[in-house]
Symmetry: C2
Subunit: 301 residues, 2 copies
């Protein structure tokens, strides 16, 4: 699982910082999460192939999370993309994009599918054979979802010594990896656990931005491998965090602690702070495993 | 008159090139012309004060000319701007911006005024005591206007030796600069031309992008000091220029020649070309005074 941060600063794009966007890669699938202004340039800078992006998830309709989407969609069209693109985001996103395409008289030749979200309950919004994506209802000034990306349980690992020992034909290997027992020619039944090892545990990633401190998200993110939780403010701005429905670094760490996640990644820093290391310092007083997102940074989990 | 090119490349923003946007400064007024994605960052990079921008002119609703406008408007709001902002652009621009502001539940505290354009005739769209702005109907795939910025005739320059010679009181200086004759205490009438020099001739700037080669714009841009004319293509792509309703460098130069402008600035280069010097080379075969726009370049006229 690889996470590339294209932008992780709040509010306005600046010369050297970008609004929220990130690319999550799980099992060779790329998911684009949020799409602030300039995302297409950040994708280029980080050498992420446009053609590998087939799903875009938009958390909410504040500009720093979606103003780059229309540009990305238009650029895909100009580059003669033919593959379908699926956009998952709050109700209204379709109208915003289609209005601009209509007025610029420039429709996409590729299939552009909108999956508009309205539910205040968690729901499955994407699923294929390897990954499942669920919404995490967040608590912000407008309708907002986080996203939980869960790798599906992988197939069991073949114990090569064991299958060769029993002289099992290769054509049964896939069944064995799928967890099935095997009946030998002499009638003996060999239980699956004797022929396989446990699979690599599936990974999970939860993206939670933007949100006030809200313990009601804990059941959805319980024990995830990696939690990205916004930390717009430091402790000194705790009151402002409450008022604007954002979180402090310590609040993000408290959620991570209570949800027993393995790793917390902080981001969505207010541009008022010169030194983002302070976010780590403050969060570490509560939860030990802290990583700081920064534009252009990649994490391998 | 100062022209700062924020972006002058066609179609898609890339790592080191930006879509169309430029800032024209005449007589201490700043005019933002077009606003492709990333314009607000380009403004920051070029150290142009946001607070000095009160008028934005949008030529047409292709993304590379306006996708940055919603971000700029939002950033102005986040920075607690209070001064009115006026946007001049094709009908539809208001709906695009207001829809996004409405869905993000983030209205501007400053006055945001849209002046939507529909006319196919040239019209005056802005005027104050120093500058007048008129549309130039262009010929492109969607409804498009160029913009002609004309400095008003300045006041006459005082001939200090002459006024002191006649012992004229300072309180009459403004009247003299405004072109009035003066009656001395002894009844003599001194004609204005004896007390003043001709003023600096007013400057004019015409922005023409995007457009097919079209001689019908010549009357509007006749003898302007500076013409910015798009040159998306080189000669080898002349047919493509015709098909997409863009111009070649030579076509831009032909318009400049026929309109007898003083200076031609080329821009809106297709990103297919590695070396923009070729645009200058080709245009110079037709018209001598060629400047190449490039992102971050400033011209003083």
């Amino acid at each position: 699982m690889n996470l590339t941060i294209l932008g992780c600063y709040a509010a306005t794009p600046r010369t050297f910082t970008n609004p929220t966007s990130q690319v999550l890669e799980i099992r060779n699938r790329l998911f684009l999460i949020d799409c602030g202004e300039g995302t297409q340039v950040q994708l280029r800078k980080n050498k992420i192939k446009f053609s590998k992006i087939n799903q875009v998830f938009i958390s909410h309709l504040h500009g720093d999370h979606f103003f780059g989407l229309i540009g990305l969609i238009s650029t895909f069209a100009l580059l003669n993309r033919t593959t379908d693109l699926h956009v998952y985001g709050p109700k209204g996103i379709k109208e915003i994009i289609n209005l601009q395409l209509r007025l610029s008289n420039s429709w996409t030749k590729y299939g552009l599918f909108f999956h508009e979200l309205e539910s205040k309950e968690s729901e499955v919004i994407f699923e294929d054979d390897k990954v499942i994506v669920k919404t995490i209802p967040l608590n912000h000034r407008v309708y907002t979802n986080g996203f939980l990306f869960q790798e599906k349980i992988r197939e069991r690992k073949l114990n090569l010594d064991a299958v060769q020992n029993y002289e099992i034909d290769k054509c049964y290997y896939q069944n064995i990896k799928n967890g099935k027992d095997i009946t030998l020619d002499d009638g003996r039944i060999i239980e699956n656990h004797k022929l396989t090892f446990d699979p690599v545990p599936p990974l999970s990633y939860a993206f939670c931005s933007d949100t006030a401190y809200d313990e009601s998200i804990i059941p959805y993110i319980k024990e995830v491998d990696v939690l990205y939780h916004e930390s717009t403010f430091l402790d000194s701005e705790e009151a402002l965090a409450g008022k604007t429905m954002h979180s402090t670094a310590k609040e993000a760490a408290t959620i991570a602690l209570k949800a027993k996640v393995k790793q917390l990644v902080l981001g969505h820093y207010s541009t008022r702070y010169e030194n983002i290391e302070l976010f780590k310092e403050q969060a570490e007083t509560i939860f030990p495993n802290i990583l700081l997102a920064d534009d252009g940074k990649s994490f391998e989990f």
